[in-house]
């Protein structure tokens, strides 16, 4: 296998289409981010962090793309173990709650640099769970099944314990997609679905805190209550709507250039800035680009003959897809507000690195399927 790979030139294996698509959306996002942060006094430092993250992300992406992803099968376990420890650590020592008892406690700080352990955990999760599922598929054993279930469920439970419903859902969606591609029978999915609905109902009444419930409730009628969360989403919708066909132009958005109008406009609600300043054209362009990227990734998963590669790519793609759909959905008022950022566009160090790492791994799978 190694011989085969080394015989084909690196350039021929490199998935330029994916790399260029991702580069395009990153560049577009960076321009919008500059506009979104122009009125903020922390703007300059946000931009600095973003530049560093993009450069670092691109390096990680290229390195991972050139590696043989089969290593991840084994390295993934170590990585998975490490991130599990971080997730446990953050449960006790993490911070980030704006108000005591509200919001998620998912940040840790390493010598002043803040990051969310749930981001590397996404990558580790998608290296490990597919590996176990491949093992299960090749040689079905109860012990492997139990191990697979534990590996799949523990990180989700840890993240939900941080009250980070959004990130928890990212893992669940990723897992479902992988299990779906694994070939689980539809009736099991149906049974699972019934359990999931039951669990969700239980969560609504017993597990979710008021903050999360309010965020979901705000969806129902965001224009009515002007204060609080609904007010935020209303501002976001006003911004997007007022962008009309071609938008106000960068740095000119009435809402986007205010402080205190669009909430977290540099991250969670950056899509509202796109909607206002770049209009329908810009907003659809982002959807189109993201959809193309995701379809291209699914195409890679379909084309590869290796089950591990296919599962891993499917999982990572689904996670990215969920980020994208949930983020745009909450900006345009279709989905509840969670702290899920828009891939390649929202400001944020650890999330940015995670997206690029995911793309790198997917490119690595793409490379090996081309060489074989």
């Amino acid at each position: 296998m190694f011989n085969k790979i080394s015989n084909v030139s690196i350039l021929a294996k490199f998935d330029f289409v994916l790399f260029i698509l991702v580069g395009t959306i990153t560049a577009l996002g960076f321009v919008v981010l500059r506009s979104a942060t122009a009125s903020m006094n922390t703007g300059a430092s946000i931009i600095r962090t973003q530049i560093i993250s993009i450069i670092l992300g691109a390096v990680i992406c290229i390195v991972l793309a050139l590696l043989d992803y089969q290593y991840f099968k084994y390295l993934g376990y170590i990585f998975y173990g490490l991130t599990l420890l971080l997730l446990i650590y953050v449960l006790f020592f993490g911070y980030g709650r704006e108000v005591e008892g509200i919001g998620s406690n998912s940040w840790i700080s390493i010598s002043g640099f803040m990051f969310q352990p749930s981001e590397p955990a996404k990558i580790a999760y998608m290296m490990t769970v597919p590996a176990l599922l491949v093992k299960l598929k090749d040689d079905f054993r109860i012990s492997t099944l139990v191990l697979s279930i534990l590996a799949a469920v523990i990180p989700i439970v840890l993240i939900l314990l941080q009250s980070d419903l959004g990130t928890g859902t990212v893992f669940i969606v990723g897992l479902l997609a992988v299990v779906f591609i694994y070939g689980i029978k539809y009736r099991y999915l149906l049974i699972g679905g019934v359990f999931a609905v039951g669990a969700a109902a239980l969560a609504w009444f017993y597990l979710l805190d008021d903050y999360q419930i309010n965020r979901i409730k705000a969806l129902i009628n965001p224009m009515q209550d002007v204060e609080g969360i609904a007010y935020q989403t209303a501002k976001a919708r006003i911004a997007i709507g007022s962008g009309k066909f071609s938008g106000s132009g960068l740095f000119e958005g009435l809402q986007s250039q205010q402080n205190g109008a669009i909430p977290v406009k540099e991250s969670d609600f950056i899509y509202s800035v796109i909607g206002e300043e770049l209009g329908f054209l810009g907003a659809v362009a982002v959807i189109l680009l993201m959809t193309l990227i995701l379809l291209w990734c699914l195409r890679i998963a379909m084309k590869t003959q290796d089950k591990y590669g296919a599962f891993m790519v499917t999982g990572l793609t689904s996670m990215l897809a969920f980020h994208f759909i949930e983020n745009v959905g909450m900006n345009i008022g279709l989905l509840p507000v969670t702290g899920i950022p828009l891939p390649f566009i929202s400001a944020g160090g650890s999330a940015m690195l995670m997206y690029f790492a995911a793309i790198g791994i997917i490119m690595s799978v793409s490379a090996s399927s081309r060489s074989s």
């Binding site: 591609i181 997007i240 962008g243 009309k244 809402q255 250039q257 205010q258 959807i287 959809t291």
Partner: protein, 714 residues
């Protein structure tokens, strides 16, 4: 094969889900942006969220009797917000704004002018390439390409005129107003946003506010915000204690988290020391307004809370008498120029009055002084005065001599030498011991002189220590000091805290210097000679102390050895009047014998009866214990010595201790009248007549009209 087929089908399902979601989002966007776009646009342009901080009014400062020294008054600041107007309309509005401000004599921010004034080389035709690069890199100005701005002011003006679209219809002057304001906006462009704001003028007149509101439809985006600002009463006499406030500087901002760039902060005195108490808690307000800055609805907010009020231990009557008497004495001494000892150069001084039982500072003056109002007002006169006092290197009016000036104590140090000799167990001095002054004495190859012997040819003879204090015979103290030894003297000087900061509640206090072996070794790396002890014994050599240290020392002599921690703020209360802080008397007890106390008290009492200050205190109804000091500055050929006087009264039951210092005041006894005036005011034994007679000329000279401390607050 079959497995692959299933996989493929399932991928197809995933693709369908993704594509359907994307289509759904596009449909929703179409509905929001294309179908309802106009509707949202209208809502968007109607409502702008403004959020801003409301600076809390500072706490009030009262004197001991509740007279208001520092208070607040309402002022109006002007801000600009981005109001979505075209250049043409914006320029016309800004010009109108400038004209209104100018016509009412209001000042406004002029960053461009200041920039050019600070960087005159911008227009130097011989400017080097580095300068041009520096100019281009300066973020504060503009990124002007070299070809657009060459060297002359004219070209820059033309460039700016073009950059800001100032049409040709405007005259040069008009264009300059517009450019100034536009530059202000450019400089603060990060805050000049919809919902953001930049400050363009502080504390404008009510006429301006009126005219602006009439012309609102033409001057868009102007926001008027009320704010409480600091105001001082007639407080020149207490300037150094009170201090003043000003805009926070970049360096101060670094040390003080929680402050904003345009906050007001205490700069000196009580205003600085008690900044955390005086400051209060800022409020903030989030309002919904229109795009022109008009407020439609308050969304949320938190009210500001005024800072705590301070009551000082300073009695303004006493403070005023101290200042006026000090200044009067200084000008009197100047007028007595004789060219021998008095070179007519007395120009500055300080006085401190301390309650010997509590440590309260009842008065603390430093002359020359300044008006804290010069630092908070921006009229031309205040600015001129402010610069004058800040750069007066001879009078140094900004310097609080009472805590920052170090003066050689001269003979006022003699009580310490007396105590050291009396308390030394190895020596046998007591109240009866006679010390011989025979005019001249040689010890260790060094000749010590009695001043009177050298000047007038007579000697003091064999006298007691108490008599020594009264006559202040140098030879007696050379002998006592050399007998006691420098270590003993230094020990007692330290006991009185003369090399320590007193811990008064003011910033920038300095500590005194005690002449001893340690100091000489550490500073000059030199050996101590017996002649050094001889000099130290009469309060010369390295000895130098601050007036506040001297006041604590005098108080300790008065109260039986309690070394007090002096304080100025007596009480801090909140708005409702509940007490937040109440000063407490703190002291360290110095242990010394009753006999020693008696000798010092007797000696110092006779100073005002028969001794060096007897002329000043002739027939004075209260028994005063004092000690004069004439401190050689080492430049006696053409400069007068410093005069110092310490005292406490009444002798039987001391209540206050006073220190007066006059720089180049010639003799210690020359400064004693200041202390006498303070005593007279404190004990209410002021002869009205005497005051009138003494002060009428002085008051005319000073042309200082008495005004109420502060106008009553409405």
């Amino acid at each position: 094969m079959k497995v692959v087929e299933i996989l493929k089908n399932r991928y197809f399902i995933l693709i369908m889900v993704l594509v359907l979601c994307s289509i759904g989002m596009v449909i929703k966007l179409y509905d929001m942006q294309i179908v309802k776009g106009d509707e949202y646009s209208i809502i968007s342009s109607k409502k702008v969220t403004h959020s801003f901080e409301i600076e809390a009014p500072r706490g009030l400062i009262y004197d001991k009797d509740g007279r208001l020294l520092a208070y607040n008054r309402e002022s109006n600041d002007l801000y600009l917000t981005k109001a979505y107007t075209e250049d043409e309309e914006l320029n016309a509005g800004l010009l109108m704004l400038c004209e209104i401000l100018e016509s009412n004599g209001d000042t406004y921010y002029r960053s461009l002018e200041n920039y050019i004034l600070r960087n005159p080389n911008v227009f130097n035709p011989n400017k080097s390439l580095e300068k041009i690069i520096e100019w281009q890199m300066d973020d504060e100005l503009l990124n002007i390409p070299e070809k657009d701005v060459k060297n002359s002011a004219k070209e820059l003006f033309a460039y700016l005129r073009k950059k800001f679209n100032v049409s040709d219809q405007y005259t040069y002057d008009e264009a300059f107003y517009i450019i100034s304001m536009r530059y202000e906006i450019l400089k603060n462009r990060w805050n000049y946003t919809t919902g953001g704001r930049i400050k363009v003028a502080a504390d404008v007149s009510l006429e301006t506010i009126g005219e602006i509101s009439e012309l609102r439809h033409l001057i868009k985006g102007v926001i008027v915000q009320k704010k409480m600002v600091r105001e001082y009463g007639n407080v020149m006499d207490i300037a150094h204690v009170l201090g003043y406030v000003g805009n926070i500087t970049a360096e101060e901002l670094k040390d003080r988290p929680g402050y904003n760039g345009d906050d007001i902060i205490g700069k000196s005195g009580i205003e600085l020391y008690y900044e955390d108490y005086l400051r209060g808690t800022d409020g903030h307000l989030q309002v919904e307004g229109d795009t022109e800055g008009r407020i439609l609805q308050v969304l949320s907010g938190l009210g500001e809370e005024q800072g705590y009020n301070l009551r000082l231990s300073i009695d303004m009557d006493l403070q005023r008498v101290a200042m006026e008497s000090l200044e009067k004495r200084i000008s009197e001494i100047r007028s007595k120029y004789d060219g021998e000892a008095n070179f007519g150069d007395a120009h500055a001084g300080a006085a401190v009055v301390i309650d010997v039982k509590t440590g309260e500072v009842l008065a603390m003056v430093s002359s020359p002084t300044y008006d804290p109002g010069w630092f908070i007002h921006n009229d031309e006169e205040s600015i001129e005065k402010r610069l004058e006092v800040m750069f007066d290197s001879y009078g140094t009016p900004m310097f609080n001599r009472a805590i920052q000036g170090r003066y050689t104590p001269g003979s006022t140090y003699k009580p310490i030498v007396a105590i050291a000799a009396l308390e030394a167990e190895e020596l046998e001095y007591d109240s009866e011991t006679l010390v011989l002054c025979d005019g001249k004495w040689t010890y260790d190859d060094w000749i010590y002189w009695c001043y009177e012997y050298r000047e007038f040819g007579w000697t003091h003879g064999a006298i007691t220590i108490s008599k020594g204090l009264e006559t202040s015979c140098n030879l007696v103290f050379h002998k006592l000091g050399l007998d006691a030894g420098i270590d003993n003297i230094s020990k007692w000087a330290k006991a009185f805290g003369l090399d320590l900061k007193t811990g008064i509640d003011l910033n920038d206090e300095i500590a005194g210097i005690i002449a001893n072996k340690e100091y000489k070794y550490l500073t000059f790396n030199e050996k101590w000679w017996s002649a050094d002890t001889g000099q130290s014994s009469i309060g010369q050599l390295y000895n130098s102390f601050t007036p506040i240290e001297m006041a604590v020392y005098a108080a300790a002599l008065a109260n039986g050895g309690k070394r007090l921690v002096p304080y100025i703020v007596d009480e801090i209360t909140d708005e409702s009047g509940s007490i937040i802080y109440k000063a407490e008397t703190r002291y360290e007890q110095i242990e010394w014998s009753e006999e020693t106390k008696r000798v010092i008290s007797e000696g110092m009492s006779s100073v005002t009866l028969d001794g060096t200050a007897s002329k000043v205190f002739d027939d004075y109804p209260i028994a005063v214990a004092g000690k004069t000091g004439t401190a050689e500055t080492g430049r006696e050929a053409d400069e007068s010595s410093n005069g110092i006087f310490i005292c406490y009264a009444p002798v039987d039951d001391p209540q206050i201790a006073i220190v007066t210092v006059i720089e180049n005041g010639v003799w210690g006894s020359y400064t004693a009248p200041v202390a006498k005036d303070i005593l007279s005011e404190y004990f209410g034994i002021w002869s009205e007549l005497e005051w009138e007679k003494d002060y009428s000329i002085f008051i005319m000279e000073m042309e200082k009209e008495r005004q109420p401390l502060a106008p009553a607050l409405q």
